[in-house]
Amino acid sequence: MTGTCFNIQRYSVHDGPGIRTTVFLKGCPLSCTWCHNPEGMSRELELIVVQDRCVGCGACVEVCPNPPVVDPGGRSVTDRRSCLRCGSCVDVCVAGARRLVGQPMTVEELLAEIERDRAFYEESGGGVTFSGGEPFEQHEFLLACLRVCRERGLHTAVDTSGYAPRDVILEAATLTDLFLYDLKLLDEARHRELVGVPLAPVLENLHALDEAGAEIWIRFPLIPGVTDSMDNVNALGRKVASLRTRRVHLLPFHRTAADKYARIERAWEHAGLEDVAEDRVKEAAEALGAMGLDVRIGG
């Protein structure tokens, strides 16, 4: 069995306890406008171009089969609609500015990568986090990985949007140690509009997991003008307060994702958005804290 990842991040310290390796599985059914891992949305291979590294040698232009990347003034630009994702340009790029992500990997290959940092997981109480994209989009691969990790005594976490078949999520609950569960907008209509999928299954799955006794940390992205209204914050607080779990992580929006959009040469509607104000974060944290929740700022 194989899966596809767009990144394997070592020394990941904001996706669960301790020092972790976060595996970013490719593909997501959601279409959050603020997504900070845009290269994880599609299941397909993705060409990543770091323009800052480009030395303008033109080798990619020469080698591109169909149709060529163009090179206006020393910097290559790829026509994404017609790019075959063949990787020819990656091979000839001496600057290391081009990368192709999303090649299939077996469970064993992925576990070999994960095992590299075992000493650090064990010494820090860390482990592996499966994130995405939406990791349940590759649920067979995910469950297989979770099973092997459990056999090998590795702590695991699954970072999910909760938008996945109920039975799969509940099966994962028997194999993983922790869910990092995203809640974004608590209004059904707004959720459909900005996240692109209905809210109801997300909440139902959350209740089901909670009832099953899973360890859950709620993750709440604070996106200016999108999720950070006090109405939304309070609604989220009320929802979580009805659960067994108490822990909420506020994830303040940051603009660093702009780089990632540039790397896949895609426009981003939030490119002009400011980082969320510290006061706003504090206000939200206090409101949630007042509802008896265990609020943390950051992942």
Binding site: R10, E122, G126
Partner: protein, 823 residues
Amino acid sequence: MTERVRLLRERSAGAEPSINAERARLITGFYRENDGAHATPVMRALAFRHLCENKTIFIDPDDLIVGERGPEPKATPTYPELTCHSIEDLRILDSREKTSYAVADDVIETYEREIIPFWKGRSLRDRMFGLLPEHWKDAYDAGIFTEFMEQRAPGHTVADGKLYETGMLDFKADIATALQRLGPEQGDAPERLGKEQPDAPEQADATEQAQSDARNPLGLSPRELREHRCEQLRAMDIVADAVIVFAERHATLAAEMAANESDAGRRDGLKLVSETCARVPAHAPRSFHEALQTYWFCHLAVITELNGWDAFNPGHLDQHLQPFYERGLADGSLTRERAKELLECFFIKFNNHLAPPKVGVTAAESGTYTDFANINIGGLKRDGSDGTSDVSFLILEVVDELHTLQPSQNVQVSRKMPDEFLREACRVVRKGYGYPSVFNADMVVEELLRQGKTVEDAREGGTSGCVETGAFGKEAYILTGYFNLPKVLELALNDGVDPRTGKRLGPSTGDAAGFESFDELVGAFGTQLHHFLEIKLWGNDIIERLYAEEMPAPFLSLITSDCIAHGLDYNEGGARYNTSYIQGVGIGTITDSLAAVRNHVFQYGAVAMGELTDALSRNFEGAEHLRALLLNRSPKWGNDDDQADELMKVVFDAFFRAVDGRPNVRGGEYHIDMLPTTCHIYFGSVTGATADGRRAGAPLSEGISPVQGADRKGPTAVLRSAGKMDQVRTGGTLLNMKFSPEALSEERDLDNLAGLIRGYFRLGGHHMQFNVVSAATLRDAQAHPESHRDLLVRVAGYSDYFCDISRELQDEIISRTEQGDTV
């Protein structure tokens, strides 16, 4: 911080570094009058006594711990009998932009009139260069290796616990016993000594062993050997008395000052100082205060006798002080606050003592004021139990509160160290002083065991200087010089000719363009490596013998086991263990260079060898495309990539095999270290462009850290790569990590930092140290030094003021990869 400490700290920080000629004048006067009148050891001892009896005594009215090497804080003496500054040297020291030492006109005058005329051609350094062969000098000039002992005496050593149990009078009794044993009726036949020890049941096993093996490193006849040992013991006896005199002079001065002091607090302090100095170090200390003062007198004695490397070092200070601390608290004579104040006074003493500046071309280069005393915290006790105590916490508090340039401190992390303590240490690391550094105490023990130490001696050992392992109080472990590994590869790529000068330095190993396999290149490298290490070892033999014969260190010998029992000096193999180290530099640069060559020349054929060497010789001029390929598309050390990491092992093994276990002239063995101090800058400046894409003259990689900026997979990947080096076969490796302050801002980041440390140590790592400062702050400090005078950064095994280090080193530190959030 008490008012007393605040004042002392302020005075220490504000004292102007200067060169002081008093020691040079006293030594020169003594030699002029007495040269030839005594055997060398006794001559050295009497010269030392002359200093103790006549040097200016300084006591600050607020001092609780007393004693300065010079006539006042930061007045730095010179050692013309070893190495004599020229007038030009002195003028450069006075005027250079960074780490200058003020040189008054009368110092220049004294040097011109008395010092230089007497020592020219007579100082050890002058004679040393006369004895060294031409090919040694050629390799030295080319920057293939450096030499430690041309400027400063062997030292690098550390005190153990005996100082707190043995007064000078007790040492004298031991000497008397040893002399008695050497009596004429037995001494004529030293080979019989081992069988005849009927009257010493109180002697420890090790001492008996030492007495019996009758070492003879200089190859003397039995009669000469007995006479030589008697001379050495007499010398040690003289210096024990001399230090008592030195302490008594402090007792007298303190009493006088107390009598004239109007402030009651100061008067009480001075009286206490006077009583303390009247008691120690003649007798073993009884209190926390006496223990600190005892060490400090011994420290001063070691650094007054000679200018040995790394000054001197109290080693496991917390372990040594703990019994005094507990006793004091129990009987009410000490409080935690008072202990802290005393420790702070003690720390400030280190800060008052700067490294003695060098001579010759190096005087023009910016150096450091740091003299490398490096206090060990935590670790293991002799019985294998955890050495962490409340005194350890106290020392961390002192470090944080004072954050002075000196002394350095490190935490010896064993498996047994409580997480609570490591977390507190990480909390201080986060402050960004560059210290404490952290060491793997279990690995240090393993390294020492591999070198043949007993397990108890190994546990009492630790690390000193930058990262060097030693059996504290029982070992003369001497760093002999840095060795430029990438330069040797450069010679292998150029048939033994130095492309910088066109001079043939090594054997002809063939035109690299004709190499048909990667193994051929590795073979040529191995041949060149052996050639230059043989030259280095040859030179070392000459220099070590010179020190053994002409520059004994009777005081250091007195306090180092088993010099008394052997009747031999520290510098001639008298210590229980005698190690010489050669320190490899640039392992990251050479690994990446080999990986690039193997990858692009031999595996994929992207470039021909001749084309590559051609581009290197042109410093990549017109070959930017090739340089980009080498830089960006080659396996790199520090990324947990076996393609690169296995080549590190090839180089490491070759270096290890060529050095480890070779005999030195002191009856001990050679081992390797992997540390650069700041030598990676100098070595880089003499090394042409390298196949990893580095330009000519740029710094080499430092320690066992990856090439600056080459590690792109985060800190765990760096540590995994470093963990693939079999570090137990070294006597120390140095690994730098730089973190952005944001990456350590939260409480749980401290736990993750501790997890990184524990994880690396589990993989067999020896040492880590951290810079927690942003590149932006460092750049701002370069632009506006006036507003960053107190910015401390980690350089090598020590911290230094960022504004005091050279521009090249500043740039190098900025270019180190910053670990942090890589979301």
